[in-house]
Symmetry: C2
Subunit: 366 residues, 2 copies
């Protein structure tokens, strides 16, 4: 592990902060930030804002101009080495005269990892790797999941009363959670590459499942102007082809992908239980549609399938401080467990109040 | 409202902090703190530690000695005016030569409120009331409930999985919550004047329901030494006289009171539903046994009764991050609700993690 100075730490922290400004818009690309320093002076900085637009390094080099000569570049991710919509950033840094590059982490794609570094080193640029790597990885959990595991990062949204009910026995449930919790959901949708649901949910509620900018929390609106709004892809499991063109789903902005056994945008296998394969769906979303991050909003049945098949990276559970009684509809349905050792355990990743409600973020415990 | 200086605020804050040192031991008395200042110098301070021992003012006066002459006393509660186990504190302050008394609040007992103040004023002492009154009231929610409402403050302990289950369908439940949550329960028992349960719970678990000092959280042990341990009174609803002398309940330290229709320590009415009257029980606990604060640990049926009869001041709910399935035993049983407008709402008073679990403190919303 190379020795980094406290100045190096400071610069990489700044690059990580810059990278965060792209969290709503870079998908399918990762969030990347870059700072160029000459001696102890910052001469350039930038972040990747949107797929198709310049990479972080390009913004920083443009800002640095001549001052990049002899400078050090701090990048949260290994600079790219391929000709895509933009020429390789490694080459750009070499041409700009940068003499040292510090990256937080290598490219997560095993087929390209190290190439950018090699390109720099072969041109005589000193390269150090691993500064604040954990923080840099935390910028891109979803992108890294797609690269490393071949499927998107899956967040499962759920909402219930404190006693675990999602509706009364007669199905009534409007509203269990508060307007603030529903705004928080809009925020999660805005962060996701795709919102996944079922045709039952879409048809029953005539749900649009898109991001309504006016319903985002004010703090988010301030950092994410309406004209830059990116709509996540809506992915609807539609086993029995129940979606019809007059649904709100199709009247609102943003792409829709249908999933079925045949005659759909994504065709997947059907299991013995007659259910569409979730594994197939996720793998195709990653490989054919570059979806990094799926936000699942659906009923108890689908939630249970995702959990039982161990396809959930996070549960985002809203609990309203209400008592509905155990004769309502439970969060996960009957599980038939006979011993406490069979109970699925989770770890609390985050716990807070959202308006009058509780929001708890859980990760499965192995 | 009199004008208080920032020095006055500082002194009363200190008196409130001192009062808190008695939280485990003063019951049935309130927590009270006192600071005596001569000019801008603290010359005496103290707090009430235990019923039968000197009041806060006495400790502060002893410490101040001669320096109390011409001084100001800051007391979190109106000084007492009656001859009890100790002579009236108002008289003591007059004799000590204090010339000004600032109280956070008057005596909550309407029959004595103002008498201490009048006694001081008649002796020529200047008295101001109302400095940090809300904070002073927050020191003694349970004592104030007994004084003002004629019944103890009721905290209801509950524990469940995230999906609202208290046990699997076959009754298995050990353990849903973590050792840390169980230590936290010991802490709540230690704060209570009484722990209330049913003979079913006591017999089924052979539960002692006392405070086990060794199981208190370390931070509590440090402020509450083992030799000072006060055991709450255990109050057991024993409608069918199921308690027997060989139970652990009777082999452990601390008083036990039984509640039944007849032949019990507390005899109460039985309603049409054949249940013991909770209102009667609470009123007798307050009036005949000076119980300020009841911590209820029991099953779903009793919890439901307390809530339905609006006798709960706080629910302390532990939620373990586990999924047990809706075929287990629910927190409150079936409620038969048919409309969301009938659902009981609560306000979150406190939300935090206790070890791996969630603890949420709720108050009923009117």
């Amino acid at each position: 592990m190379p020795q980094f100075t406290s100045f190096d730490h400071q610069m990489m922290s700044r690059a990580i902060s810059l990278a965060k400004r792209g969290i709503f818009t870079t998908t399918p690309n990762p969030n990347v930030g870059c700072v160029i320093a000459l001696g102890e002076q910052i001469v350039g900085e930038g972040y990747h804002r949107k797929a198709g637009e310049p990479h972080a390094e390009v913004h920083a080099m443009r800002m640095a101009g001549e001052k990049a000569v002899g400078a050090t570049a701090y990048v949260t991710l290994e600079p790219c080495s391929h000709y895509g919509r933009t020429p390789p950033c490694a080459l750009g840094l070499i041409k700009a005269g940068v003499t040292k590059v510090i990256c937080a982490m290598t490219d997560p794609n095993p087929q390209v990892a190290g190439r950018g570094i090699r390109m720099l080193q072969e041109a005589g640029v000193e390269v150090l790797v691993g500064l604040l790597e954990q923080d840099a990885r935390a910028l891109n959990p979803a992108f890294l999941t797609r690269m490393e595991r071949g499927r998107p990062y899956v967040q499962l949204k759920m909402a219930a009363s404190l006693d675990g009910q999602t509706a009364l026995a007669n199905g009534r449930s409007q509203w269990i959670t508060s307007p603030q919790a529903r705004k928080d959901v809009q925020h999660y949708r805005a962060l996701a590459s795709a919102v996944l649901s079922t045709s039952q949910t879409v048809v029953a509620d005539n749900a649009s499942l898109n991001v309504r900018w006016s319903e985002l929390p004010t703090a988010i609106q301030e950092e994410y102007p309406e004209q830059e709004l990116r709509q996540p892809t809506r992915v609807i499991l539609d086993r029995q082809h129940q979606l019809t063109p007059e649904l709100k789903l199709y009247a609102t902005d943003g792409p829709v992908l249908t999933v079925a056994h045949s005659a759909a945008d994504i065709c997947v296998a059907v299991g013995e239980d007659q259910q569409l394969s979730l594994v197939d769906t996720l793998e195709q979303l990653a490989s054919a549609h570059n979806i990094n991050h799926v936000w699942v909003e659906a009923g108890a049945t689908l939630a249970k399938s995702f959990i039982e098949q161990e396809l959930v990276d996070e549960i985002v559970l809203y609990l309203a401080p209400k008592i509905m009684g155990s004769d309502g509809r439970g969060l996960f349905g009957a599980l038939g467990l006979t011993d406490m050792s069979l109970v699925q355990n989770f770890t609390i990743k985050d716990l807070r109040q959202v308006g009058p409600d509780i929001r708890v973020v859980l990760t499965p415990k192995n």
